[in-house]
């Protein structure tokens, strides 16, 4: 059966169409929903198996990236969303969607003292678009199953994964939740330990993220947030070197969406 994917949209969301297209290509059935509609009718979640929060600039990233939409979900939909996850369903947050997820509590990064991790401004202080190579440690993460490395584009200003302290990073690493990490081109994936000061230099780690982290999953493996854009690598000719390396057919980003669809097969 084709899983039903709810593609959430808020003012300023701008990757919703290509994200929906990716799920459709993978065999899912998508339904766009404006956040106002979902807030008015949280039951909409019951009718879907996957919640996708696409990239963009929800509410302009005013105040902080993803903050306002994240607050709306946390303050008004917390229960419905936890119920959604506990029912064995999937949540994917890409770029701004990851920034939103970090502020909802769904990624299990908060403790009694508040958030233990955040996505802060890039080290170079500006928005940057470039392709990166990622080491993948899928563990329990449904979306990344079967991947060990992947190239994808990033495009963000506030994507630096920052944790409160090394102990937090160690705990996340130990529980297998640092599932995507920036890797230098030409070197084996995930060769380095996750340390507060990034081991991978700019531009391979484009923002200075602690532990070179590009994406994390929750404790169940069914919620994934990542800064890179898998929906921008659905076709080989979207790769920046396709005219050099003779790539044809699908792009590697398709795999994440296929994994999500297959999970419900």
């Amino acid at each position: 059966m084709s899983p039903r994917v709810l593609v959430l949209r808020a003012p300023g969301t701008n990757c919703d169409k290509e994200t929906a297209f990716a799920f459709e290509q993978a065999g899912g059935t998508t339904r766009p929903a404006h956040v106002r509609e979902l807030l008015d009718n949280p039951q909409l979640l019951n009718e879907h198996q996957v919640l996708a929060i696409p990239g963009g600039f929800s509410y302009g990233d005013d105040i902080a990236s993803g903050r306002i939409l994240g607050n709306q979900l946390r303050l008004r939909l917390a229960e419905a969303l936890l119920e959604f996850r506990d029912a064995g369903k999937l949540v994917l947050g890409i770029c701004n969607g990851f920034q939103v997820l970090m502020k909802t509590g769904l990624l299990d990064v908060d403790d009694a003292e508040g958030p233990q991790a955040t996505l802060a401004w890039n080290n170079n202080g500006r928005y940057e678009a470039r392709w990166v190579k990622l080491g993948v440690a899928p563990g329990e993460c449904v979306f990344l199953s079967g991947l060990d490395e992947i190239e994808l584009p990033v495009a963000h200003a506030e994507g630096k994964f920052v944790v409160r302290d090394q102990a937090t990073l160690d705990a996340l690493a130990a529980s297998g939740r640092l599932v995507l990490r920036y890797t230098p081109v030409g070197e084996p994936a995930l060769a380095t330990a996750a340390t507060m000061a990034p081991a991978v230099p700019y531009p391979a780690n484009p923002n200075g993220a602690c532990g070179d982290v590009a994406g994390i999953c929750d404790t169940t493996g069914r919620v994934l947030g990542l800064m890179p854009h898998p929906e921008r690598f659905l076709f080989a000719h979207q790769h920046p070197q396709w005219t050099r390396n003779g790539l044809t057919g699908d792009g590697a980003g398709m795999k994440l969406f296929e994994n999500a669809v297959k999970y419900f097969a």
């Binding site: 508040g114 929906e231 000719h237």
Partner: protein, 971 residues
């Protein structure tokens, strides 16, 4: 209750704004602080806002507690001024606030988000705070005014902030204003024109005077403003679309409508030739040009200029420049969906010494940073990829930087045209109307002076991209539901030009008091001419109004009926049911008096340029690569999202490390189809010093060859003209423009390439008084941007400019002539004279056809056009973009005489092509009939070597030339 909440980085090393401030002070040559700290501040005013509320807003909304801390206190409290611990106690506190009424998107969003917390939303204003150590008061003041704030939109408060309220606007009391015109003599008319910021010419003022004299009444202020807006250069293009008597190398010519008789005529001639195969859909008629694309969609293309606002406030000017051209695309036909953007800028060199700037001029480095940030923030937020661009540097852009913003949209076949119907409501969708942007349209008709900032500060605006994205989302839905009959954008002139245009053939009645306002106090005239951003006007049949209203409301977009299209042939303006203006549409659109302008042009005689032969030219190559026009623009490109919408196939940076200069962008606008559009541009202001005819011809050739170089079909390239010129009341200046327009006509016909839309920005001159009290004027060089939109049936046939493999033959296609005039070789060697590049109009289309067929056949591994810096620069770029070596010989080039010409001549219609070794025969066959010589081959080495008569004249490691090319703008 007025609260201030300061949000500060928890540690010194996280304070990137402070670090940036210290770095930039050095870059701009200002006194450098010994240390600094920054904070984001929010001012909250609400009658019921308690301390608990303020704390909750701080913790749950405003502060990221992993990296930030906060101070919450009532405004004026001492805790708000104490500096972070790592600063010395002598630090000075500086506040930078947007001026009251200036668009503050973060404050608006914060208000809504506070409501989400269940707290009654207070008034919000944002503020930036800086603590600066180690500077005297004069140093602090200089830093604040030169770097931290722009007086056009922001105010600076040094020391504690003493505010007792935030609200802006006072109630407006209606009183009808009339203007005494009848008694004025010519001098009085012109004074009124200038002081009222109407910027109308004498004959126009006289026409208006006579019109109202015949009616025996005084005009109201709004009637005069309406005429000034509609007749402005910005809205009517009266100079170029007017009568011109021209005397040039072609002899004497008389134009009734210069643009129509040159550029537009060429397109119409081509369309007639094509007959049933005509692929133009709408040209020079709508907000953008439209051509056919695939079975379901057409594509629309428009490039606008936003020069004057960008000179005063680079960020806001460029921001709203891009926002404006996106609205042009949304306002084409019944609304096109924007798919990608192109942006081209002209600046003075960023290393211009700060103390050499004339009064009133912003430092070019600051202009450049602001413009790039403005385009970046609008495009990225809208989710429209910026895929193409260029930057040109010349000292003459010091007072008038140029900002060209372009956008491409796709539009379903049945949505390409719209017409308002009598009885339709005029509905405003989107942003509210404020005092921002008053007199923008007429202001762009004026020459900038050092006082412009004071005079026209109101013409500067800040955009709110998310508002426009919301408008786009509901507008395209409403389009597909067929809820409206026509749409246009509120650009220059605001409602006055939008409703004037839409109602031109019908008539309209407008109810100005119904327009939603940002704050109280706007007069009826201010509402009418405000250029507040992010507004569109649609004409809505009465029976569709409720559905449109509900659709907009469901996404939080405001839609308001502000009038009705009435079949009266008149524009009737009402405020609270009283008529404040009543003008016939015919006066607005056809009533402008014809003025005959004089135009003269004689290009300077060609002076010889014969550089002495040298043994080695590697130093020249390195200098050209490191010159600002040629150097890598990676610092800019990477700040733009060029892949959002997932259509990007050839990106702006290409090669094995994605850092080589691509010739054109290839984008698939429809996600599940490989049919692609190709976006490129051509421009060379330096050639205008020689002959604007050849400058224009070269720009057209460059735009087309960039497109062809990546695989575009040369028979499906549409182009746009953008003329940015000096004061065209001067016959020589206007003459140089007419000469360029004649070239556009000739080249368009010869190449079979139609112009589909265009734009002009005249009066780009800056005046000031020097130290001795003498008036000085800086006029920009003639600056014609040609933007091209090509098409490819199959994007997977695209090629890029980076070399692909060692052992492949490399060919030069096209004729190299002794054309070093205006070249970058001449520039870096400080040489004058020489022959400016010309275009062989017989040969050029044949070369383009041959290259295209070779690319389509798959024989071509890499293709790069030859432009600034000629053969040597293109060869170096192809090699260092790939890390593959290149060995070429100049011996086969017999059409140029000197070694310098062979290496650096900028002759048009040339390509350097790497061919797959096993397909060389096939390639040579495709080139039979056009000039094509084999120059050498790619190698496994890491060097570029170019020989002449067996001796190397260029010999360099690729890393060295790449470094030279990347370094200048690696900010």
């Amino acid at each position: 209750m007025l609260w201030e909440i300061d949000v500060l980085p928890v540690r010194e090393d996280l304070d990137r704004d402070a670090t940036q401030l210290i770095d930039e002070a050095a870059e701009f040559g200002l006194a450098q602080p010994s240390a600094a700290a920054s904070a984001r501040a929010f001012l909250l005013e609400g009658a019921h806002l308690s301390a608990d509320d303020a704390q909750r807003i701080t913790d749950e909304l405003l502060t990221d507690r992993v990296v930030e801390r906060s101070v919450v206190a009532q405004s004026g409290d001492a805790s708000l001024t104490s500096s972070p611990a790592w600063l010395t106690s002598d630090s000075v506190l500086v506040h930078v606030l947007p001026k009251p009424g200036v668009m503050d998107p973060v404050a608006l969003s914060a208000q809504q988000a506070i409501a989400d917390l269940g707290i009654e939303p207070p008034l919000v204003r944002t503020c930036r705070k800086y603590w600066i150590s180690g500077l005297d008061p004069a140093g602090v003041d200089q830093l604040a005014t030169r770097l931290l704030a722009n007086d056009a939109i922001e105010q600076v408060v040094v020391g504690p902030l003493t505010l007792d309220h935030l609200d802006v606007g006072r109630p407006y009391e209606f009183s009808l204003q009339t203007v005494e015109l009848d008694s004025l003599d010519d001098e009085g008319l012109m004074r009124l024109s200038r002081e009222g910021q109407l910027y109308l010419q004498l004959a126009e003022m006289q026409t208006i005077q006579k019109y109202f004299r015949d009616l025996d009444r005084k005009p109201t202020d709004i009637e005069l403003e309406t005429l000034a807006q509609t007749w402005s250069e910005h809205c009517s293009h009266k100079t170029l679309a007017g009568r011109i008597r021209y005397n040039g190398p072609e002899g004497e010519r008389q134009f009734e409508n210069m643009l129509k008789e040159t550029i537009f005529t060429a397109t119409q001639t081509l369309r007639k030739q094509w007959g049933d195969d005509d692929w133009c859909v709408s040209v020079f008629a709508d907000n953008a040009g439209v051509v056919t694309f695939n079975d379901t969609c057409h594509v629309a293309f428009k490039v606008e200029t936003h020069n004057h606002p960008s000179a005063l406030e680079p960020y806001g000017g460029a921001n709203t420049g891009l926002g404006g051209v996106i609205r042009d695309i949304l306002g084409t036909g019944l609304g096109a969906e924007p798919v990608c953007s192109t942006d081209v800028f002209c600046f003075a060199p960023p290393e211009t010494p700060a103390d050499s700037l004339p009064p009133g001029v912003l430092h070019p480095r600051r202009v450049m940073q602001g413009v790039v940030a403005g385009v970046r923030d609008y495009g990225n937020r809208m989710g429209i990829p910026t895929v193409n661009g260029a930057v040109y540097f010349d000292e003459r852009y010091l007072g008038n930087p140029l900002v060209y913003c372009g956008n491409v949209g796709v539009i379903p076949h049945d949505k390409a045209f719209g017409t308002a119907q009598p009885g339709d409501y005029a509905v405003s969708i989107g942003g509210r109307t404020g005092r921002d942007g008053i007199h923008g349209a007429t202001f762009s008709s004026a020459e900038l002076t050092h006082e412009s900032e004071d005079l026209s500060g109101g013409a500067v605006q800040i955009g709110n991209a998310i508002e426009e994205k919301m408008v786009q989302d509901v507008l395209l839905k409403a389009r597909d539901l067929q809820l409206y009959t026509a749409v246009t954008d509120c650009g220059a002139g605001g409602f006055s030009s939008a409703l004037g245009e839409m109602g031109e053939k019908i008539g309209a009645e407008v109810w100005l008091d119904r327009a939603p306002l940002k704050y109280e106090g706007l007069s009826y005239t201010e509402i009418w001419i405000s250029e507040a951003q992010e507004r569109m006007v649609v004409s809505v049949p009465e029976e569709n109004w409720q559905q449109l209203h509900d659709l907009c409301a469901s996404e939080g977009v405001e839609a308001t009926i502000i009038g009705r299209f009435e079949p009266t042939g008149r524009l009737v303006l009402k405020y609270q049911d009283q008529v404040v203006g009543d003008l016939p549409m015919s006066l607005l659109h056809d009533g402008r008096p014809p003025v005959v302008r004089e135009a003269r042009y004689s290009p300077p005689a060609t002076e010889p340029l014969n550089p002495a032969e040298q043994d080695d030219y590697t130093a020249e190559l390195t200098s050209i690569l490191g010159s600002l026009n040629v150097a890598s623009k990676q610092w800019i490109i990477r700040q733009y999202d060029h892949e959002v919408k997932s259509g990007s196939v050839v990106k702006p940076l290409v090669g094995n490390q994605s850092d080589g200069p691509g010739d054109a962008a290839v984008v698939c606008p429809v996600i599940d189809s490989k049919k692609a559009i190709v976006i490129s541009c051509g421009m060379n202001p330096h050639y205008g010093n020689f002959d604007t005819y050849h400058m224009a011809a070269s720009a057209i050739d460059e735009a087309i060859r960039n497109c062809v170089a990546v695989g575009a079909d040369p028979t499906r390239i549409a182009i746009l003209d953008n003329f940015c010129w000096g004061d065209c009341e001067k016959p020589e200046t206007l003459g140089s423009l007419v000469r360029a327009a004649l070239a556009c006509h000739d080249l368009s016909l010869a190449m079979g390439t139609p112009f589909i839309s265009g734009k002009d920005s005249l009066n780009n001159e800056f005046s000031y008084f020097d130290e001795s009290g003498n008036k000085q004027t800086i006029a920009i060089p003639p600056s014609l941007l040609i933007s091209a939109m090509g098409q490819m049936d199959d994007a997977s046939q695209a090629v890029t400019m980076d070399l692909k493999a060692a052992g492949n033959p490399v060919y030069l296609v096209g004729v190299t002539k002794d054309e070093l005039g205006g070249s970058h070789f001449a520039l870096v060697r400080d040489l004058t004279g020489g022959q400016v590049p010309t275009v062989d109009v017989e040969l050029a289309p044949q070369v383009f056809t041959a290259v295209h067929s070779a690319i389509k056949s798959g024989a071509v591994a890499a293709c790069h056009d030859l432009c600034e810096g000629g053969l040597a620069v293109s060869a170096a770029e192809m090699a260092f973009a790939s890390g593959i070596g290149l060995e070429l010989s100049l011996d086969a080039i017999d059409s140029a005489t000197s070694t310098a010409s062979k290496l650096f001549s900028e002759s048009n219609t040339r390509f350097l092509i790497e061919v797959k070794a096993d397909r060389a025969g096939e390639f040579e066959q495709a080139m039979a009939g056009v000039p094509c010589v084999k120059l050498g081959q790619t190698t496994a080495g890491s060097k570029l070597t170019i020989t002449s008569a067996g001796k190397p004249v260029i010999d360099t490691e690729l890393t060295a030339v790449k470094q030279a090319w990347q370094q200048p703008l690696a900010w």
